[in-house]
Symmetry: none
Subunit: 248 residues, 2 copies
DNA sequence: TATATTATTGCAACAAACCGCAAAAACACG
DNA sequence: CGTGTTTTTGCGGTTTGTTGCAATAATATA
């Protein structure tokens, strides 16, 4: 393999995963550590990546990625980590959009092998960084507000699908009213997603608990897992606990 | 064997395999290393390949997709600006993916009113920033390499659609061979996109001119507009000019 | 702080590139 | 045809590029 090809390979890995480990590259490319280190040094000199102890990081990861802009990011990371526990190899997963789901994708283990259907282009792009994940983007009208596809075409495609697990964020959840939403189209969308999945996990920061909006998506019993940043036995969650809903 | 024949042979190998090793060519062509090196040097001077230590690489071997440092960004901005001239209010436009198309979207005038179909999630997200643009994302399998949706589902949806204009990037264009590509699925995809549009514009930086890859998408006559960063009457473009193709 | 992992540096072996030169082939032209 | 010129090619010697190794320094992790 030519040096240039190695460099291209490394850059591809970097842009795919936002980071590379020296040790991984040694195995993948079957060359000595020294060679990889020199490659990383050269690419770093060209300003194509950030060299760090143990490997290298994507340049865009630091510059363009403004972590601070995501609201309540710390909470969302906790939620995301809990949610990854639900995913096992071979699973078929359906996801919605939103920053919480996006965070969930970033927290997935590197080698997870699964099939993901999603209505969120951003989630699709993030999922594509995993070698062993097959990504199917469900197409349709694209919503400027929620950054997901919606509309009849999406509903139709969802109807043909049966996923093991559906992961969705929510803007409101209430012990009696269940999941609710403000927009008709998003409401329809979520209903269709629920119907297409054997189980459903709702990812939701605690400040969205105990809120009911105009349009009802489903009763609380239709939800299999409720994932918040709170402890399992936090008092805010007791009213959600029942035979159907597992609190994580 | 004549020099010209050797050069043709080398270019065939390059376009077939994306790479050649000096040592391989020495054996295949039964000439000295120096001769091969000189051949590669000359072909490199003509801009037909990239010479590297140990051999040479195809010019289109810029497979990697890096969002941080877009390759030849200045050229792509020039191309993008030219392309915006093709869009008028009320148009139905179909776009592919790639950094050039993404740049095109960023250059669109703020209040343009049009309908865009796209196979690229990133393009969809960017288009969503325009208030008066309706965005329809065509869904399907998501390609990790090219960051667009592809496969049967995409083809099927494209078949139901007739756009006024199709905008696509390309990795290779040649006056006799037309549009060509390396991957079967992308090839099929581009064919379907062409069939779904009344007119087609190809956005393409000049270094991808005069390159032919393995799989043919369409003859040069099927293209309505060819947009490069070069001046309209640049000599590199004369061979592309004919009744059908407009050079911008 | 102790221990393991990763970086750095100089070095040697090898491969490839470069340079000048000369032989051979192709070409131009009277 | 012959002769001078240009182009092409291969060879030897030299320089540069690439890679892996070993010893040492720096850094992470518990």
């Amino acid at each position: 393999m030519l040096k240039k090809e190695r460099h291209d390979f490394i850059m591809r890995q970097i842009n795919l995963h936002n980071r590379v480990l020296t040790s991984d590259l040694v195995q993948l490319l079957n060359v000595s550590e020294d060679t990889i280190r020199r490659d990383l040094q050269e690419l770093s000199d060209e300003g194509l990546l950030f060299k760090v102890h143990g490997g290298a990081l994507s340049k865009s990861y630091h510059s363009s990625f403004d972590d601070s802009t995501v609201y309540a990011r710390d909470s969302k990371i906790i939620i995301a980590k809990k949610a990854t526990g639900l995913i096992t190899d071979g699973m078929v997963v359906l996801t919605g959009g939103g920053t919480t789901i996006l965070e969930f994708v970033k927290q997935l283990p590197q080698n997870i092998a699964a099939t993901f259907f999603t209505i969120s282009p951003l989630v699709a792009v993030e999922l594509a960084k995993y070698d062993n994940i097959e990504v199917i983007l469900i197409g349709g009208l694209f919503s400027k507000n929620s950054q997901v596809t919606y509309g009849g075409q999406v509903i139709t495609q969802l109807a043909e699908l049966k996923a093991d697990l559906c992961l969705m964020g929510t803007s409101a959840i209430h012990p009696e009213e269940g999941l609710t939403d403000t927009y008709w189209e998003i409401n329809q969308l979520k209903k269709a997603m629920l119907a297409s999945s054997k189980k459903t996990a709702v990812l939701c920061i605690s400040e969205k608990l105990d809120i009911a909006l105009r349009l009802r998506v489903c009763p609380i019993e239709s939800i299999s897992y409720l994932i918040t940043e709170l402890d399992q036995d936090h008092e805010s969650l007791t009213r959600y606990q029942n035979r159907e809903v597992h609190i994580l």
